[in-house]
Symmetry: C2
Subunit: 374 residues, 2 copies
Amino acid sequence: MIIGILKEPQDEARVALLPEAVKTLISWKTSVWVESSAGASAYASDQWYQESGGEIHTRKEILEKADLICGIQPLAEAEIGQMKPGAVLMGQLSALFNPKLTDYLIQSGRTAFSMELVPRTTRAQAMDVLSSMATVTGYKAVLMAANLLPRFFPMFMTAAGSITPARVLILGAGVAGLQAIATAKRLGATVYAFDVRQAAKEEVLSLGAKFVDVEGAKEDKSAGGYAVEQSAEYLRKQKDTIHEHATKADVIITTAQIPGRKAPLLVEERTVRAMKAGAVIIDLAASSGGNCALSQPDQTVEVNGVRIVGVGNLAAEMPQDASKMYGKNYLNFLKLIIHNGELKLNFEDDIVTGTCVCHEGKPVSPRIVQMKSA
Amino acid sequence: MIIGILKEPQDEARVALLPEAVKTLISWKTSVWVESSAGASAYASDQWYQESGGEIHTRKEILEKADLICGIQPLAEAEIGQMKPGAVLMGQLSALFNPKLTDYLIQSGRTAFSMELVPRTTRAQAMDVLSSMATVTGYKAVLMAANLLPRFFPMFMTAAGSITPARVLILGAGVAGLQAIATAKRLGATVYAFDVRQAAKEEVLSLGAKFVDVEGAKEDKSAGGYAVEQSAEYLRKQKDTIHEHATKADVIITTAQIPGRKAPLLVEERTVRAMKAGAVIIDLAASSGGNCALSQPDQTVEVNGVRIVGVGNLAAEMPQDASKMYGKNYLNFLKLIIHNGELKLNFEDDIVTGTCVCHEGKPVSPRIVQMKSA
């Protein structure tokens, strides 16, 4: 079988499979076709792909001949149309939130897998791109904040007096939030973290941060580790508590997202206006509405000396290790569907089924089936 | 007496004295006049200066009325000319390397102090702006590198495989180099450091970094902690050793400077070309010729996927804490020349004498006297 790796769109610096992953695929008796400069922005040259056993082909050849195309960003419909019948498309297709593409894939009889659908189970953890990319994002968010802050993160006792540590507030203690906590602690900051899920408290404390408690949150264990919607009374109490902590903070990093919904508003305009001049807010939920009232996607806004950075695809800003982790997730998944160098889709496997958007004209993943029947 | 704080030039975000330092000066029975928005780029508002006891005045008023002007970047000659007779100018005037300004100050009969002339003695350590700003620079250089690197600094053992720590090479283990080592270690990198001075070895090891040894260096204890010029044979051996380490490095931070001379060339072009794609070089000596053959002052150059950042005034990129430390250095010095709210220049004090460029038409600091008689 031929596995194809295409160059991602202009604004995506990652590549789904680095040469090291290609080497593994070759050892599985597959052929790997790579579009020229597919890895360039992740610092992986064509030569390196070739040395790892890949072949350089044109985009057209790959689209027409590959049995499986592994990417990150979704392909345009016109290009999906060029794929040969029965070929499989894989990527991070946002299948639940991009109904137009999902409908097109179903109606055109394509077989497609969408990596963000990987079930959040223990066995599937090694394939979970949302987790691995959140690790990158949490780390990068802190570096970005530390770089922008006009102050030190660590405490200093110097001949020129003492410098107090920066105070960092992390909102949302999922994978990105926990990585942000760990990185801010590494850099010597005093870290506070908030999460509606009480289960997060222990993890926050174990990283050496202080947990910001707001009582009375609803919890839903079936939400796959995500937070759920809350009562108006709780939300008021939550915003007031965050306001109080925000006025003392040098940095706020917000990471709260609810899949498929607008991100919860956690930092109100009055809160930004009450913050210290020079403070920095990194809003990782900016592209889904923002956790901060004043954030704009992919822009930095300054209000009263407080800079609010609306962050988009932060994982792409550390393309080499992000691609390495993405590729490792991919390989762990591909192990389930490649046997003896051939594609074998085993729909008895809940990970294969859970990740499959559609096959032979029908939705497959229970989440896609549910969406289509809703 | 009136102490004046002027707005620094456009490209200088620091301010010599923040409101907190003004408060101390007021408690010493002085008046402090501040130009409007002097602290703006360091996030210190006019209102905050006023609340701390400062008065907002025009630039012209301050130039004409102040008994002492405390700045960072030197003033233009035309503005120095506006100062009242007997008024004292203080700043980081680069008096040893800016002979035109130094001559003007002497010939016009001005009294001027230049903060970089503060003797490198134990008693003067609390006034040493070169040390405090090097602390900022070393910290910022690592953040800049970590932000640019397409990889993580720390090691990760995740479900998506393991990530090896970044390898960082620090060239020059003075104050900036040691701070860079400490910060890179905080972020989890594996750190190697090189310095011609064997005395640096113990400090490097105590920070948990590995010391890169090149035998046969000349040392000169009278150089005030700076490195001295070396033999051709040693320099060859040094470049070869650095070349070998550089090819394995993800990040190189170069900090080697010899006061008043061109910075030593440590990273040759062949070395850059042998480095890994994605690697980052931060050259802190770029403005004095560069430690890397390919660096350009205030520019980022990319060669074979290696980015070389020629850094200028990095301390100004963290203006709040940099200004705080600058101000503390200033206060410690001003304590020596302000008594009961009045200026009293005691030329019996070796710190006052060592820091004074000129007074009543004559050079005062032994280093300026030596320069003028050479």
